[in-house]
């Protein structure tokens, strides 16, 4: 207890972190330190306010090897693979910090739940292929003794991408890459398309690519709960709180060519308990940012991007929340059971939902029409003006439809190249990212979790090489652009 008081007063600087380091944060003058110590000693003596026994069961633990900021599907996937790939059972203590345990604003549960292999980058295709294999064998990966098996409600109906004249060559090249990686995709001409799906209006469509296997949609809430259950059974601790501060130390070094570099290391994560001013400084070895749409804010807290623009220190994490609407409508004469998830060349998409002629769909707005991401209110006029015309043009039966429900969710949008940020930060040596997937995070989560766990445990990517998705590409300007974005 005296040690705790000493730590509060004097900080970890005296415990010997090596020469040449200095702590960021509060550096009080000597007089201030003396008066602090006096106050602490007075409170310890009988009659003072401090008592050695207090209940901290509502607080997160004081030490944790890995702190994962964000408890959505990506954060839980990283936690799962860490516990699964650790060398000795129980070797790594993991803490998952989640601000909202109802997941009311989390992108995972508000997503449409699709999974596809029709991407243009080979890394994305490989991530998706592994994730689909994970989902297929989910009851072997996430089995917990005596708990019922998971039913993901997977619809293997496939994705149908339609391309106009301009996009046809790109689509052909993409399909070639997809087939090379092992995805089962077929190309269809407008005549074949009309024969197979008579309810489509093929006007303006030059080429279509249809995923035959391993594509479809599933229930993301089930995956989230399955991961949560399994990860808790493996010994990962959960904390209901918000990260408010990172305490780090800097190391000024020089490269061989004489350039000055400042490497930082995070020592503590301050987790503020929900609905209270109390916070707990969690001492940690590694921090993983998997906070989805709020990853940009968390990265700013950690000091990423605070530096002269154009330098590596000044490169921010370019992930910001973008609001997307999803509408559920009923159309009695609509497409039948065979309808895949259809993506129009204009960007509108829809899929069948259930057996009662209900359909889910949406449309990604252009940069100028982006709605304000401050809240999750739904704009119904957006459907009338932007979504419905495209849908009705593509599927004539959709001219008579009735919107039943609508909701909005966030994309953790990577403004640089709309692909995920995975792996360590070059300057903050113990921080890792698993965020920024801009709408296809859910379908790549199991594979990304494994990749991040491999980087943390082995030091490099072993199964899928995600070097094009490292943070350093923002500084070097190398875009890993994905062309098939819905």
């Amino acid at each position: 207890m005296l040690r705790r008081a000493l730590r509060l007063g004097l900080g970890p600087g005296l415990l010997g972190r090596g020469l040449g380091t200095h702590r960021e944060g509060s550096t009080l003058a000597w007089d201030g330190k003396v008066s602090e110590i006096k106050k602490k000693i007075q409170s310890i003596l009988p009659g003072g306010a401090w008592s050695p026994l207090c209940d901290t069961s509502h607080l997160p633990p004081e030490h944790s090897d890995v702190v994962i900021v964000g408890g959505g599907v990506l954060g839980l996937s990283v936690a799962y693979w860490l516990k699964r790939l650790e060398k000795q059972q129980g070797a790594i203590r993991v803490l998952v910090v989640e601000r909202d345990h109802t997941y009311s604003q989390a992108s995972t549960v508000l997503s449409v739940g699709g999974i596809r292999q029709q991407f243009s980058l080979p890394e994305n295709i490989q991530l998706s292929l592994f994730s689909v294999e994970f989902l297929r064998n989910i009851n072997e990966y996430l089995a917990v003794v005596d708990d019922p098996p998971l039913d993901l409600q997977f619809n293997p109906s496939g994705y149908l991408f339609l391309a106009s004249e301009e996009g046809a060559t790109i689509m052909e090249n993409n399909v070639k890459v997809q087939r090379q990686e092992g995805a089962k995709v077929c190309l269809m001409s407008p005549e074949q398309l009309q024969k197979k799906f008579p309810w489509i209006n093929t006007e303006g469509v030059a080429l279509a690519s249809y995923g035959l296997e391993n594509e479809g949609w599933f229930d993301p809430w089930c995956l989230l709960q399955g991961l949560r259950r399994k990860v808790q059974s493996m010994g990962v601790l959960f904390c209901h709180g918000e990260v408010t501060r990172f305490v780090s130390s800097s190391n000024h070094m020089e490269t061989t060519s004489g350039e000055k570099v400042t490497l930082r290391r995070i020592h503590e994560v301050h987790v503020k308990v929900d609905r209270s001013q109390e916070y707990q400084p969690v001492e940690c070895a590694i921090v993983v940012i998997a906070a989805g749409a709020w990853s940009g804010q968390i990265a700013e807290l950690a000091g990423i991007g605070k530096g002269p623009p154009g330098t590596l220190q000044g490169t921010r994490l370019p992930v910001e929340p973008r609001k997307r609407y999803v509408y559920l409508w009923h159309c009695p004469q609509g497409p039948g059971l065979e309808a895949p998830l259809v993506a129009d060349p204009s960007g509108a998409y829809f899929r069948r939902e259930g057996l009662g002629n209900n359909y889910l769909g949406g449309y990604s707005p252009t940069e100028e029409e982006e709605p304000d991401p401050g809240n999750l209110e739904v704009d119904h006029d957006f459907f009338q003006e932007k979504v419905w015309p495209h849908l009705a043009r593509r599927v004539p039966a959709f001219e008579t439809l009735k919107v039943r429900r609508a909701w909005a969710g966030y994309y953790d949008y990577n403004t640089f190249d709309q692909n995920g940020v995975v792996g360590p930060h070059p300057l903050v040596v113990n921080m890792y990212f698993a965020t920024g997937f801009s709408g296809h995070g859910l379908q790549q989560a199991p594979a990304v979790g494994r990749a991040v766990a491999e980087v943390m445990l082995e030091g490099r990517f072993q199964t899928i090489d995600l070097s094009p998705f490292l943070f350093s590409r923002f500084y070097l300007g190398e875009k890993a652009q994905e062309h098939c974005i819905i």
Binding site: R136, V145, Q153, P156, S157, G158, L212, E213, L337, L355
Partner: protein, 257 residues
């Protein structure tokens, strides 16, 4: 796939003695002096909770491995005798029946497979009856190599699920008859991907417990495959009778379902 535990963590039982611990106290307070046999067994198992859990996990892993072993791919037979013989061997090993073109049904007899199987290298397989076999997603590889398969019966297969149905599109050119009756894991989501099988003329989807609405599913599948005769639930099953039909129904004899 999760690897089986390398070692069973069998902890040596700690004998508490009669007096130490809360359990000892309660035993001392327990009015019934001699506990019944069932209670000692339960207490014995409860004391060794983690060991029992490890044993159960081990037994579960053994079951899973058994199914995987049955569904391995027979690459040697495929290279030496061709895909038709490999597929037929797979089915016969599982306990199903195979019919080659212009031949009779071949079933596994008690003493092993008949010798004439190995001579049928060039003869395509026409029909497969895999009812009750433990075929899963991996094992389906052997069946999908049979490109001239016309009739496939997967009745009451416990491991055939929606993922397996999504692979059947590879048999779309030849498959005329398909039976999925009684499979516990197939739902309407898997039936949706049968629309690739445009040459199908007979489809049996009766008695599928995982399908949420059998009557509606029947109608939707019939619409999806217009040239196919779909056997399954009666579309009126599951519909509630209106008030006037109810009184009429109780008066007359019950309508056969």
């Amino acid at each position: 796939m999760a690897a089986p535990r390398a070692s069973l963590r069998l902890v040596a039982p700690v004998w508490n003695g009669g007096t130490s611990g809360i359990r000892g106290l309660s035993r001392a307070v327990d009015p019934e002096g001699s506990p019944r046999k069932g209670r000692t067994l339960l207490r014995f198992l409860a004391d060794r909770f983690y060991d029992v859990e490890a044993v159960r996990e081990y037994l579960l892993q053994k079951q899973v491995l058994k199914v995987l072993q049955k569904n391995r791919s027979f690459t040697y037979i495929k290279e030496r005798y061709g895909p038709y013989v490999a597929g037929a061997y797979f089915i016969l090993k599982q306990g199903g029946a195979v019919k080659f073109q212009d031949k009779e049904w071949m079933r596994p007899n008690g003493r092993g497979l008949s010798g004439e199987l190995w001579k049928l290298r060039e003869v395509p397989v026409e029909a497969v009856d895999a009812s009750g076999c433990a075929i899963n997603y991996q094992g389906l590889d052997n069946l999908l190599a049979l490109k001239e398969l016309q009739s496939l019966s997967l009745q009451c297969c416990p491991h055939v699920d929606d993922w397996c149905l999504s692979r059947l599109h590879q048999l779309a050119n030849s498959l005329r008859e398909l039976s999925l009756a009684g499979c516990p894991r197939i739902s309407e989501r898997g039936l949706a991907c049968l629309h690739h099988l445009q040459n199908l003329r007979r489809l049996d989807i009766s008695d599928l417990p995982a399908v949420s609405n059998p009557g509606l599913t029947q109608i939707l599948v019939e619409e999806m495959l217009p040239n196919c005769e779909v056997l399954g639930a009666d579309w009126a099953q599951g519909l509630k009778l209106g008030p006037e039909e109810q009184t009429r129904d109780t008066a007359s004899s019950p309508i056969p379902a």
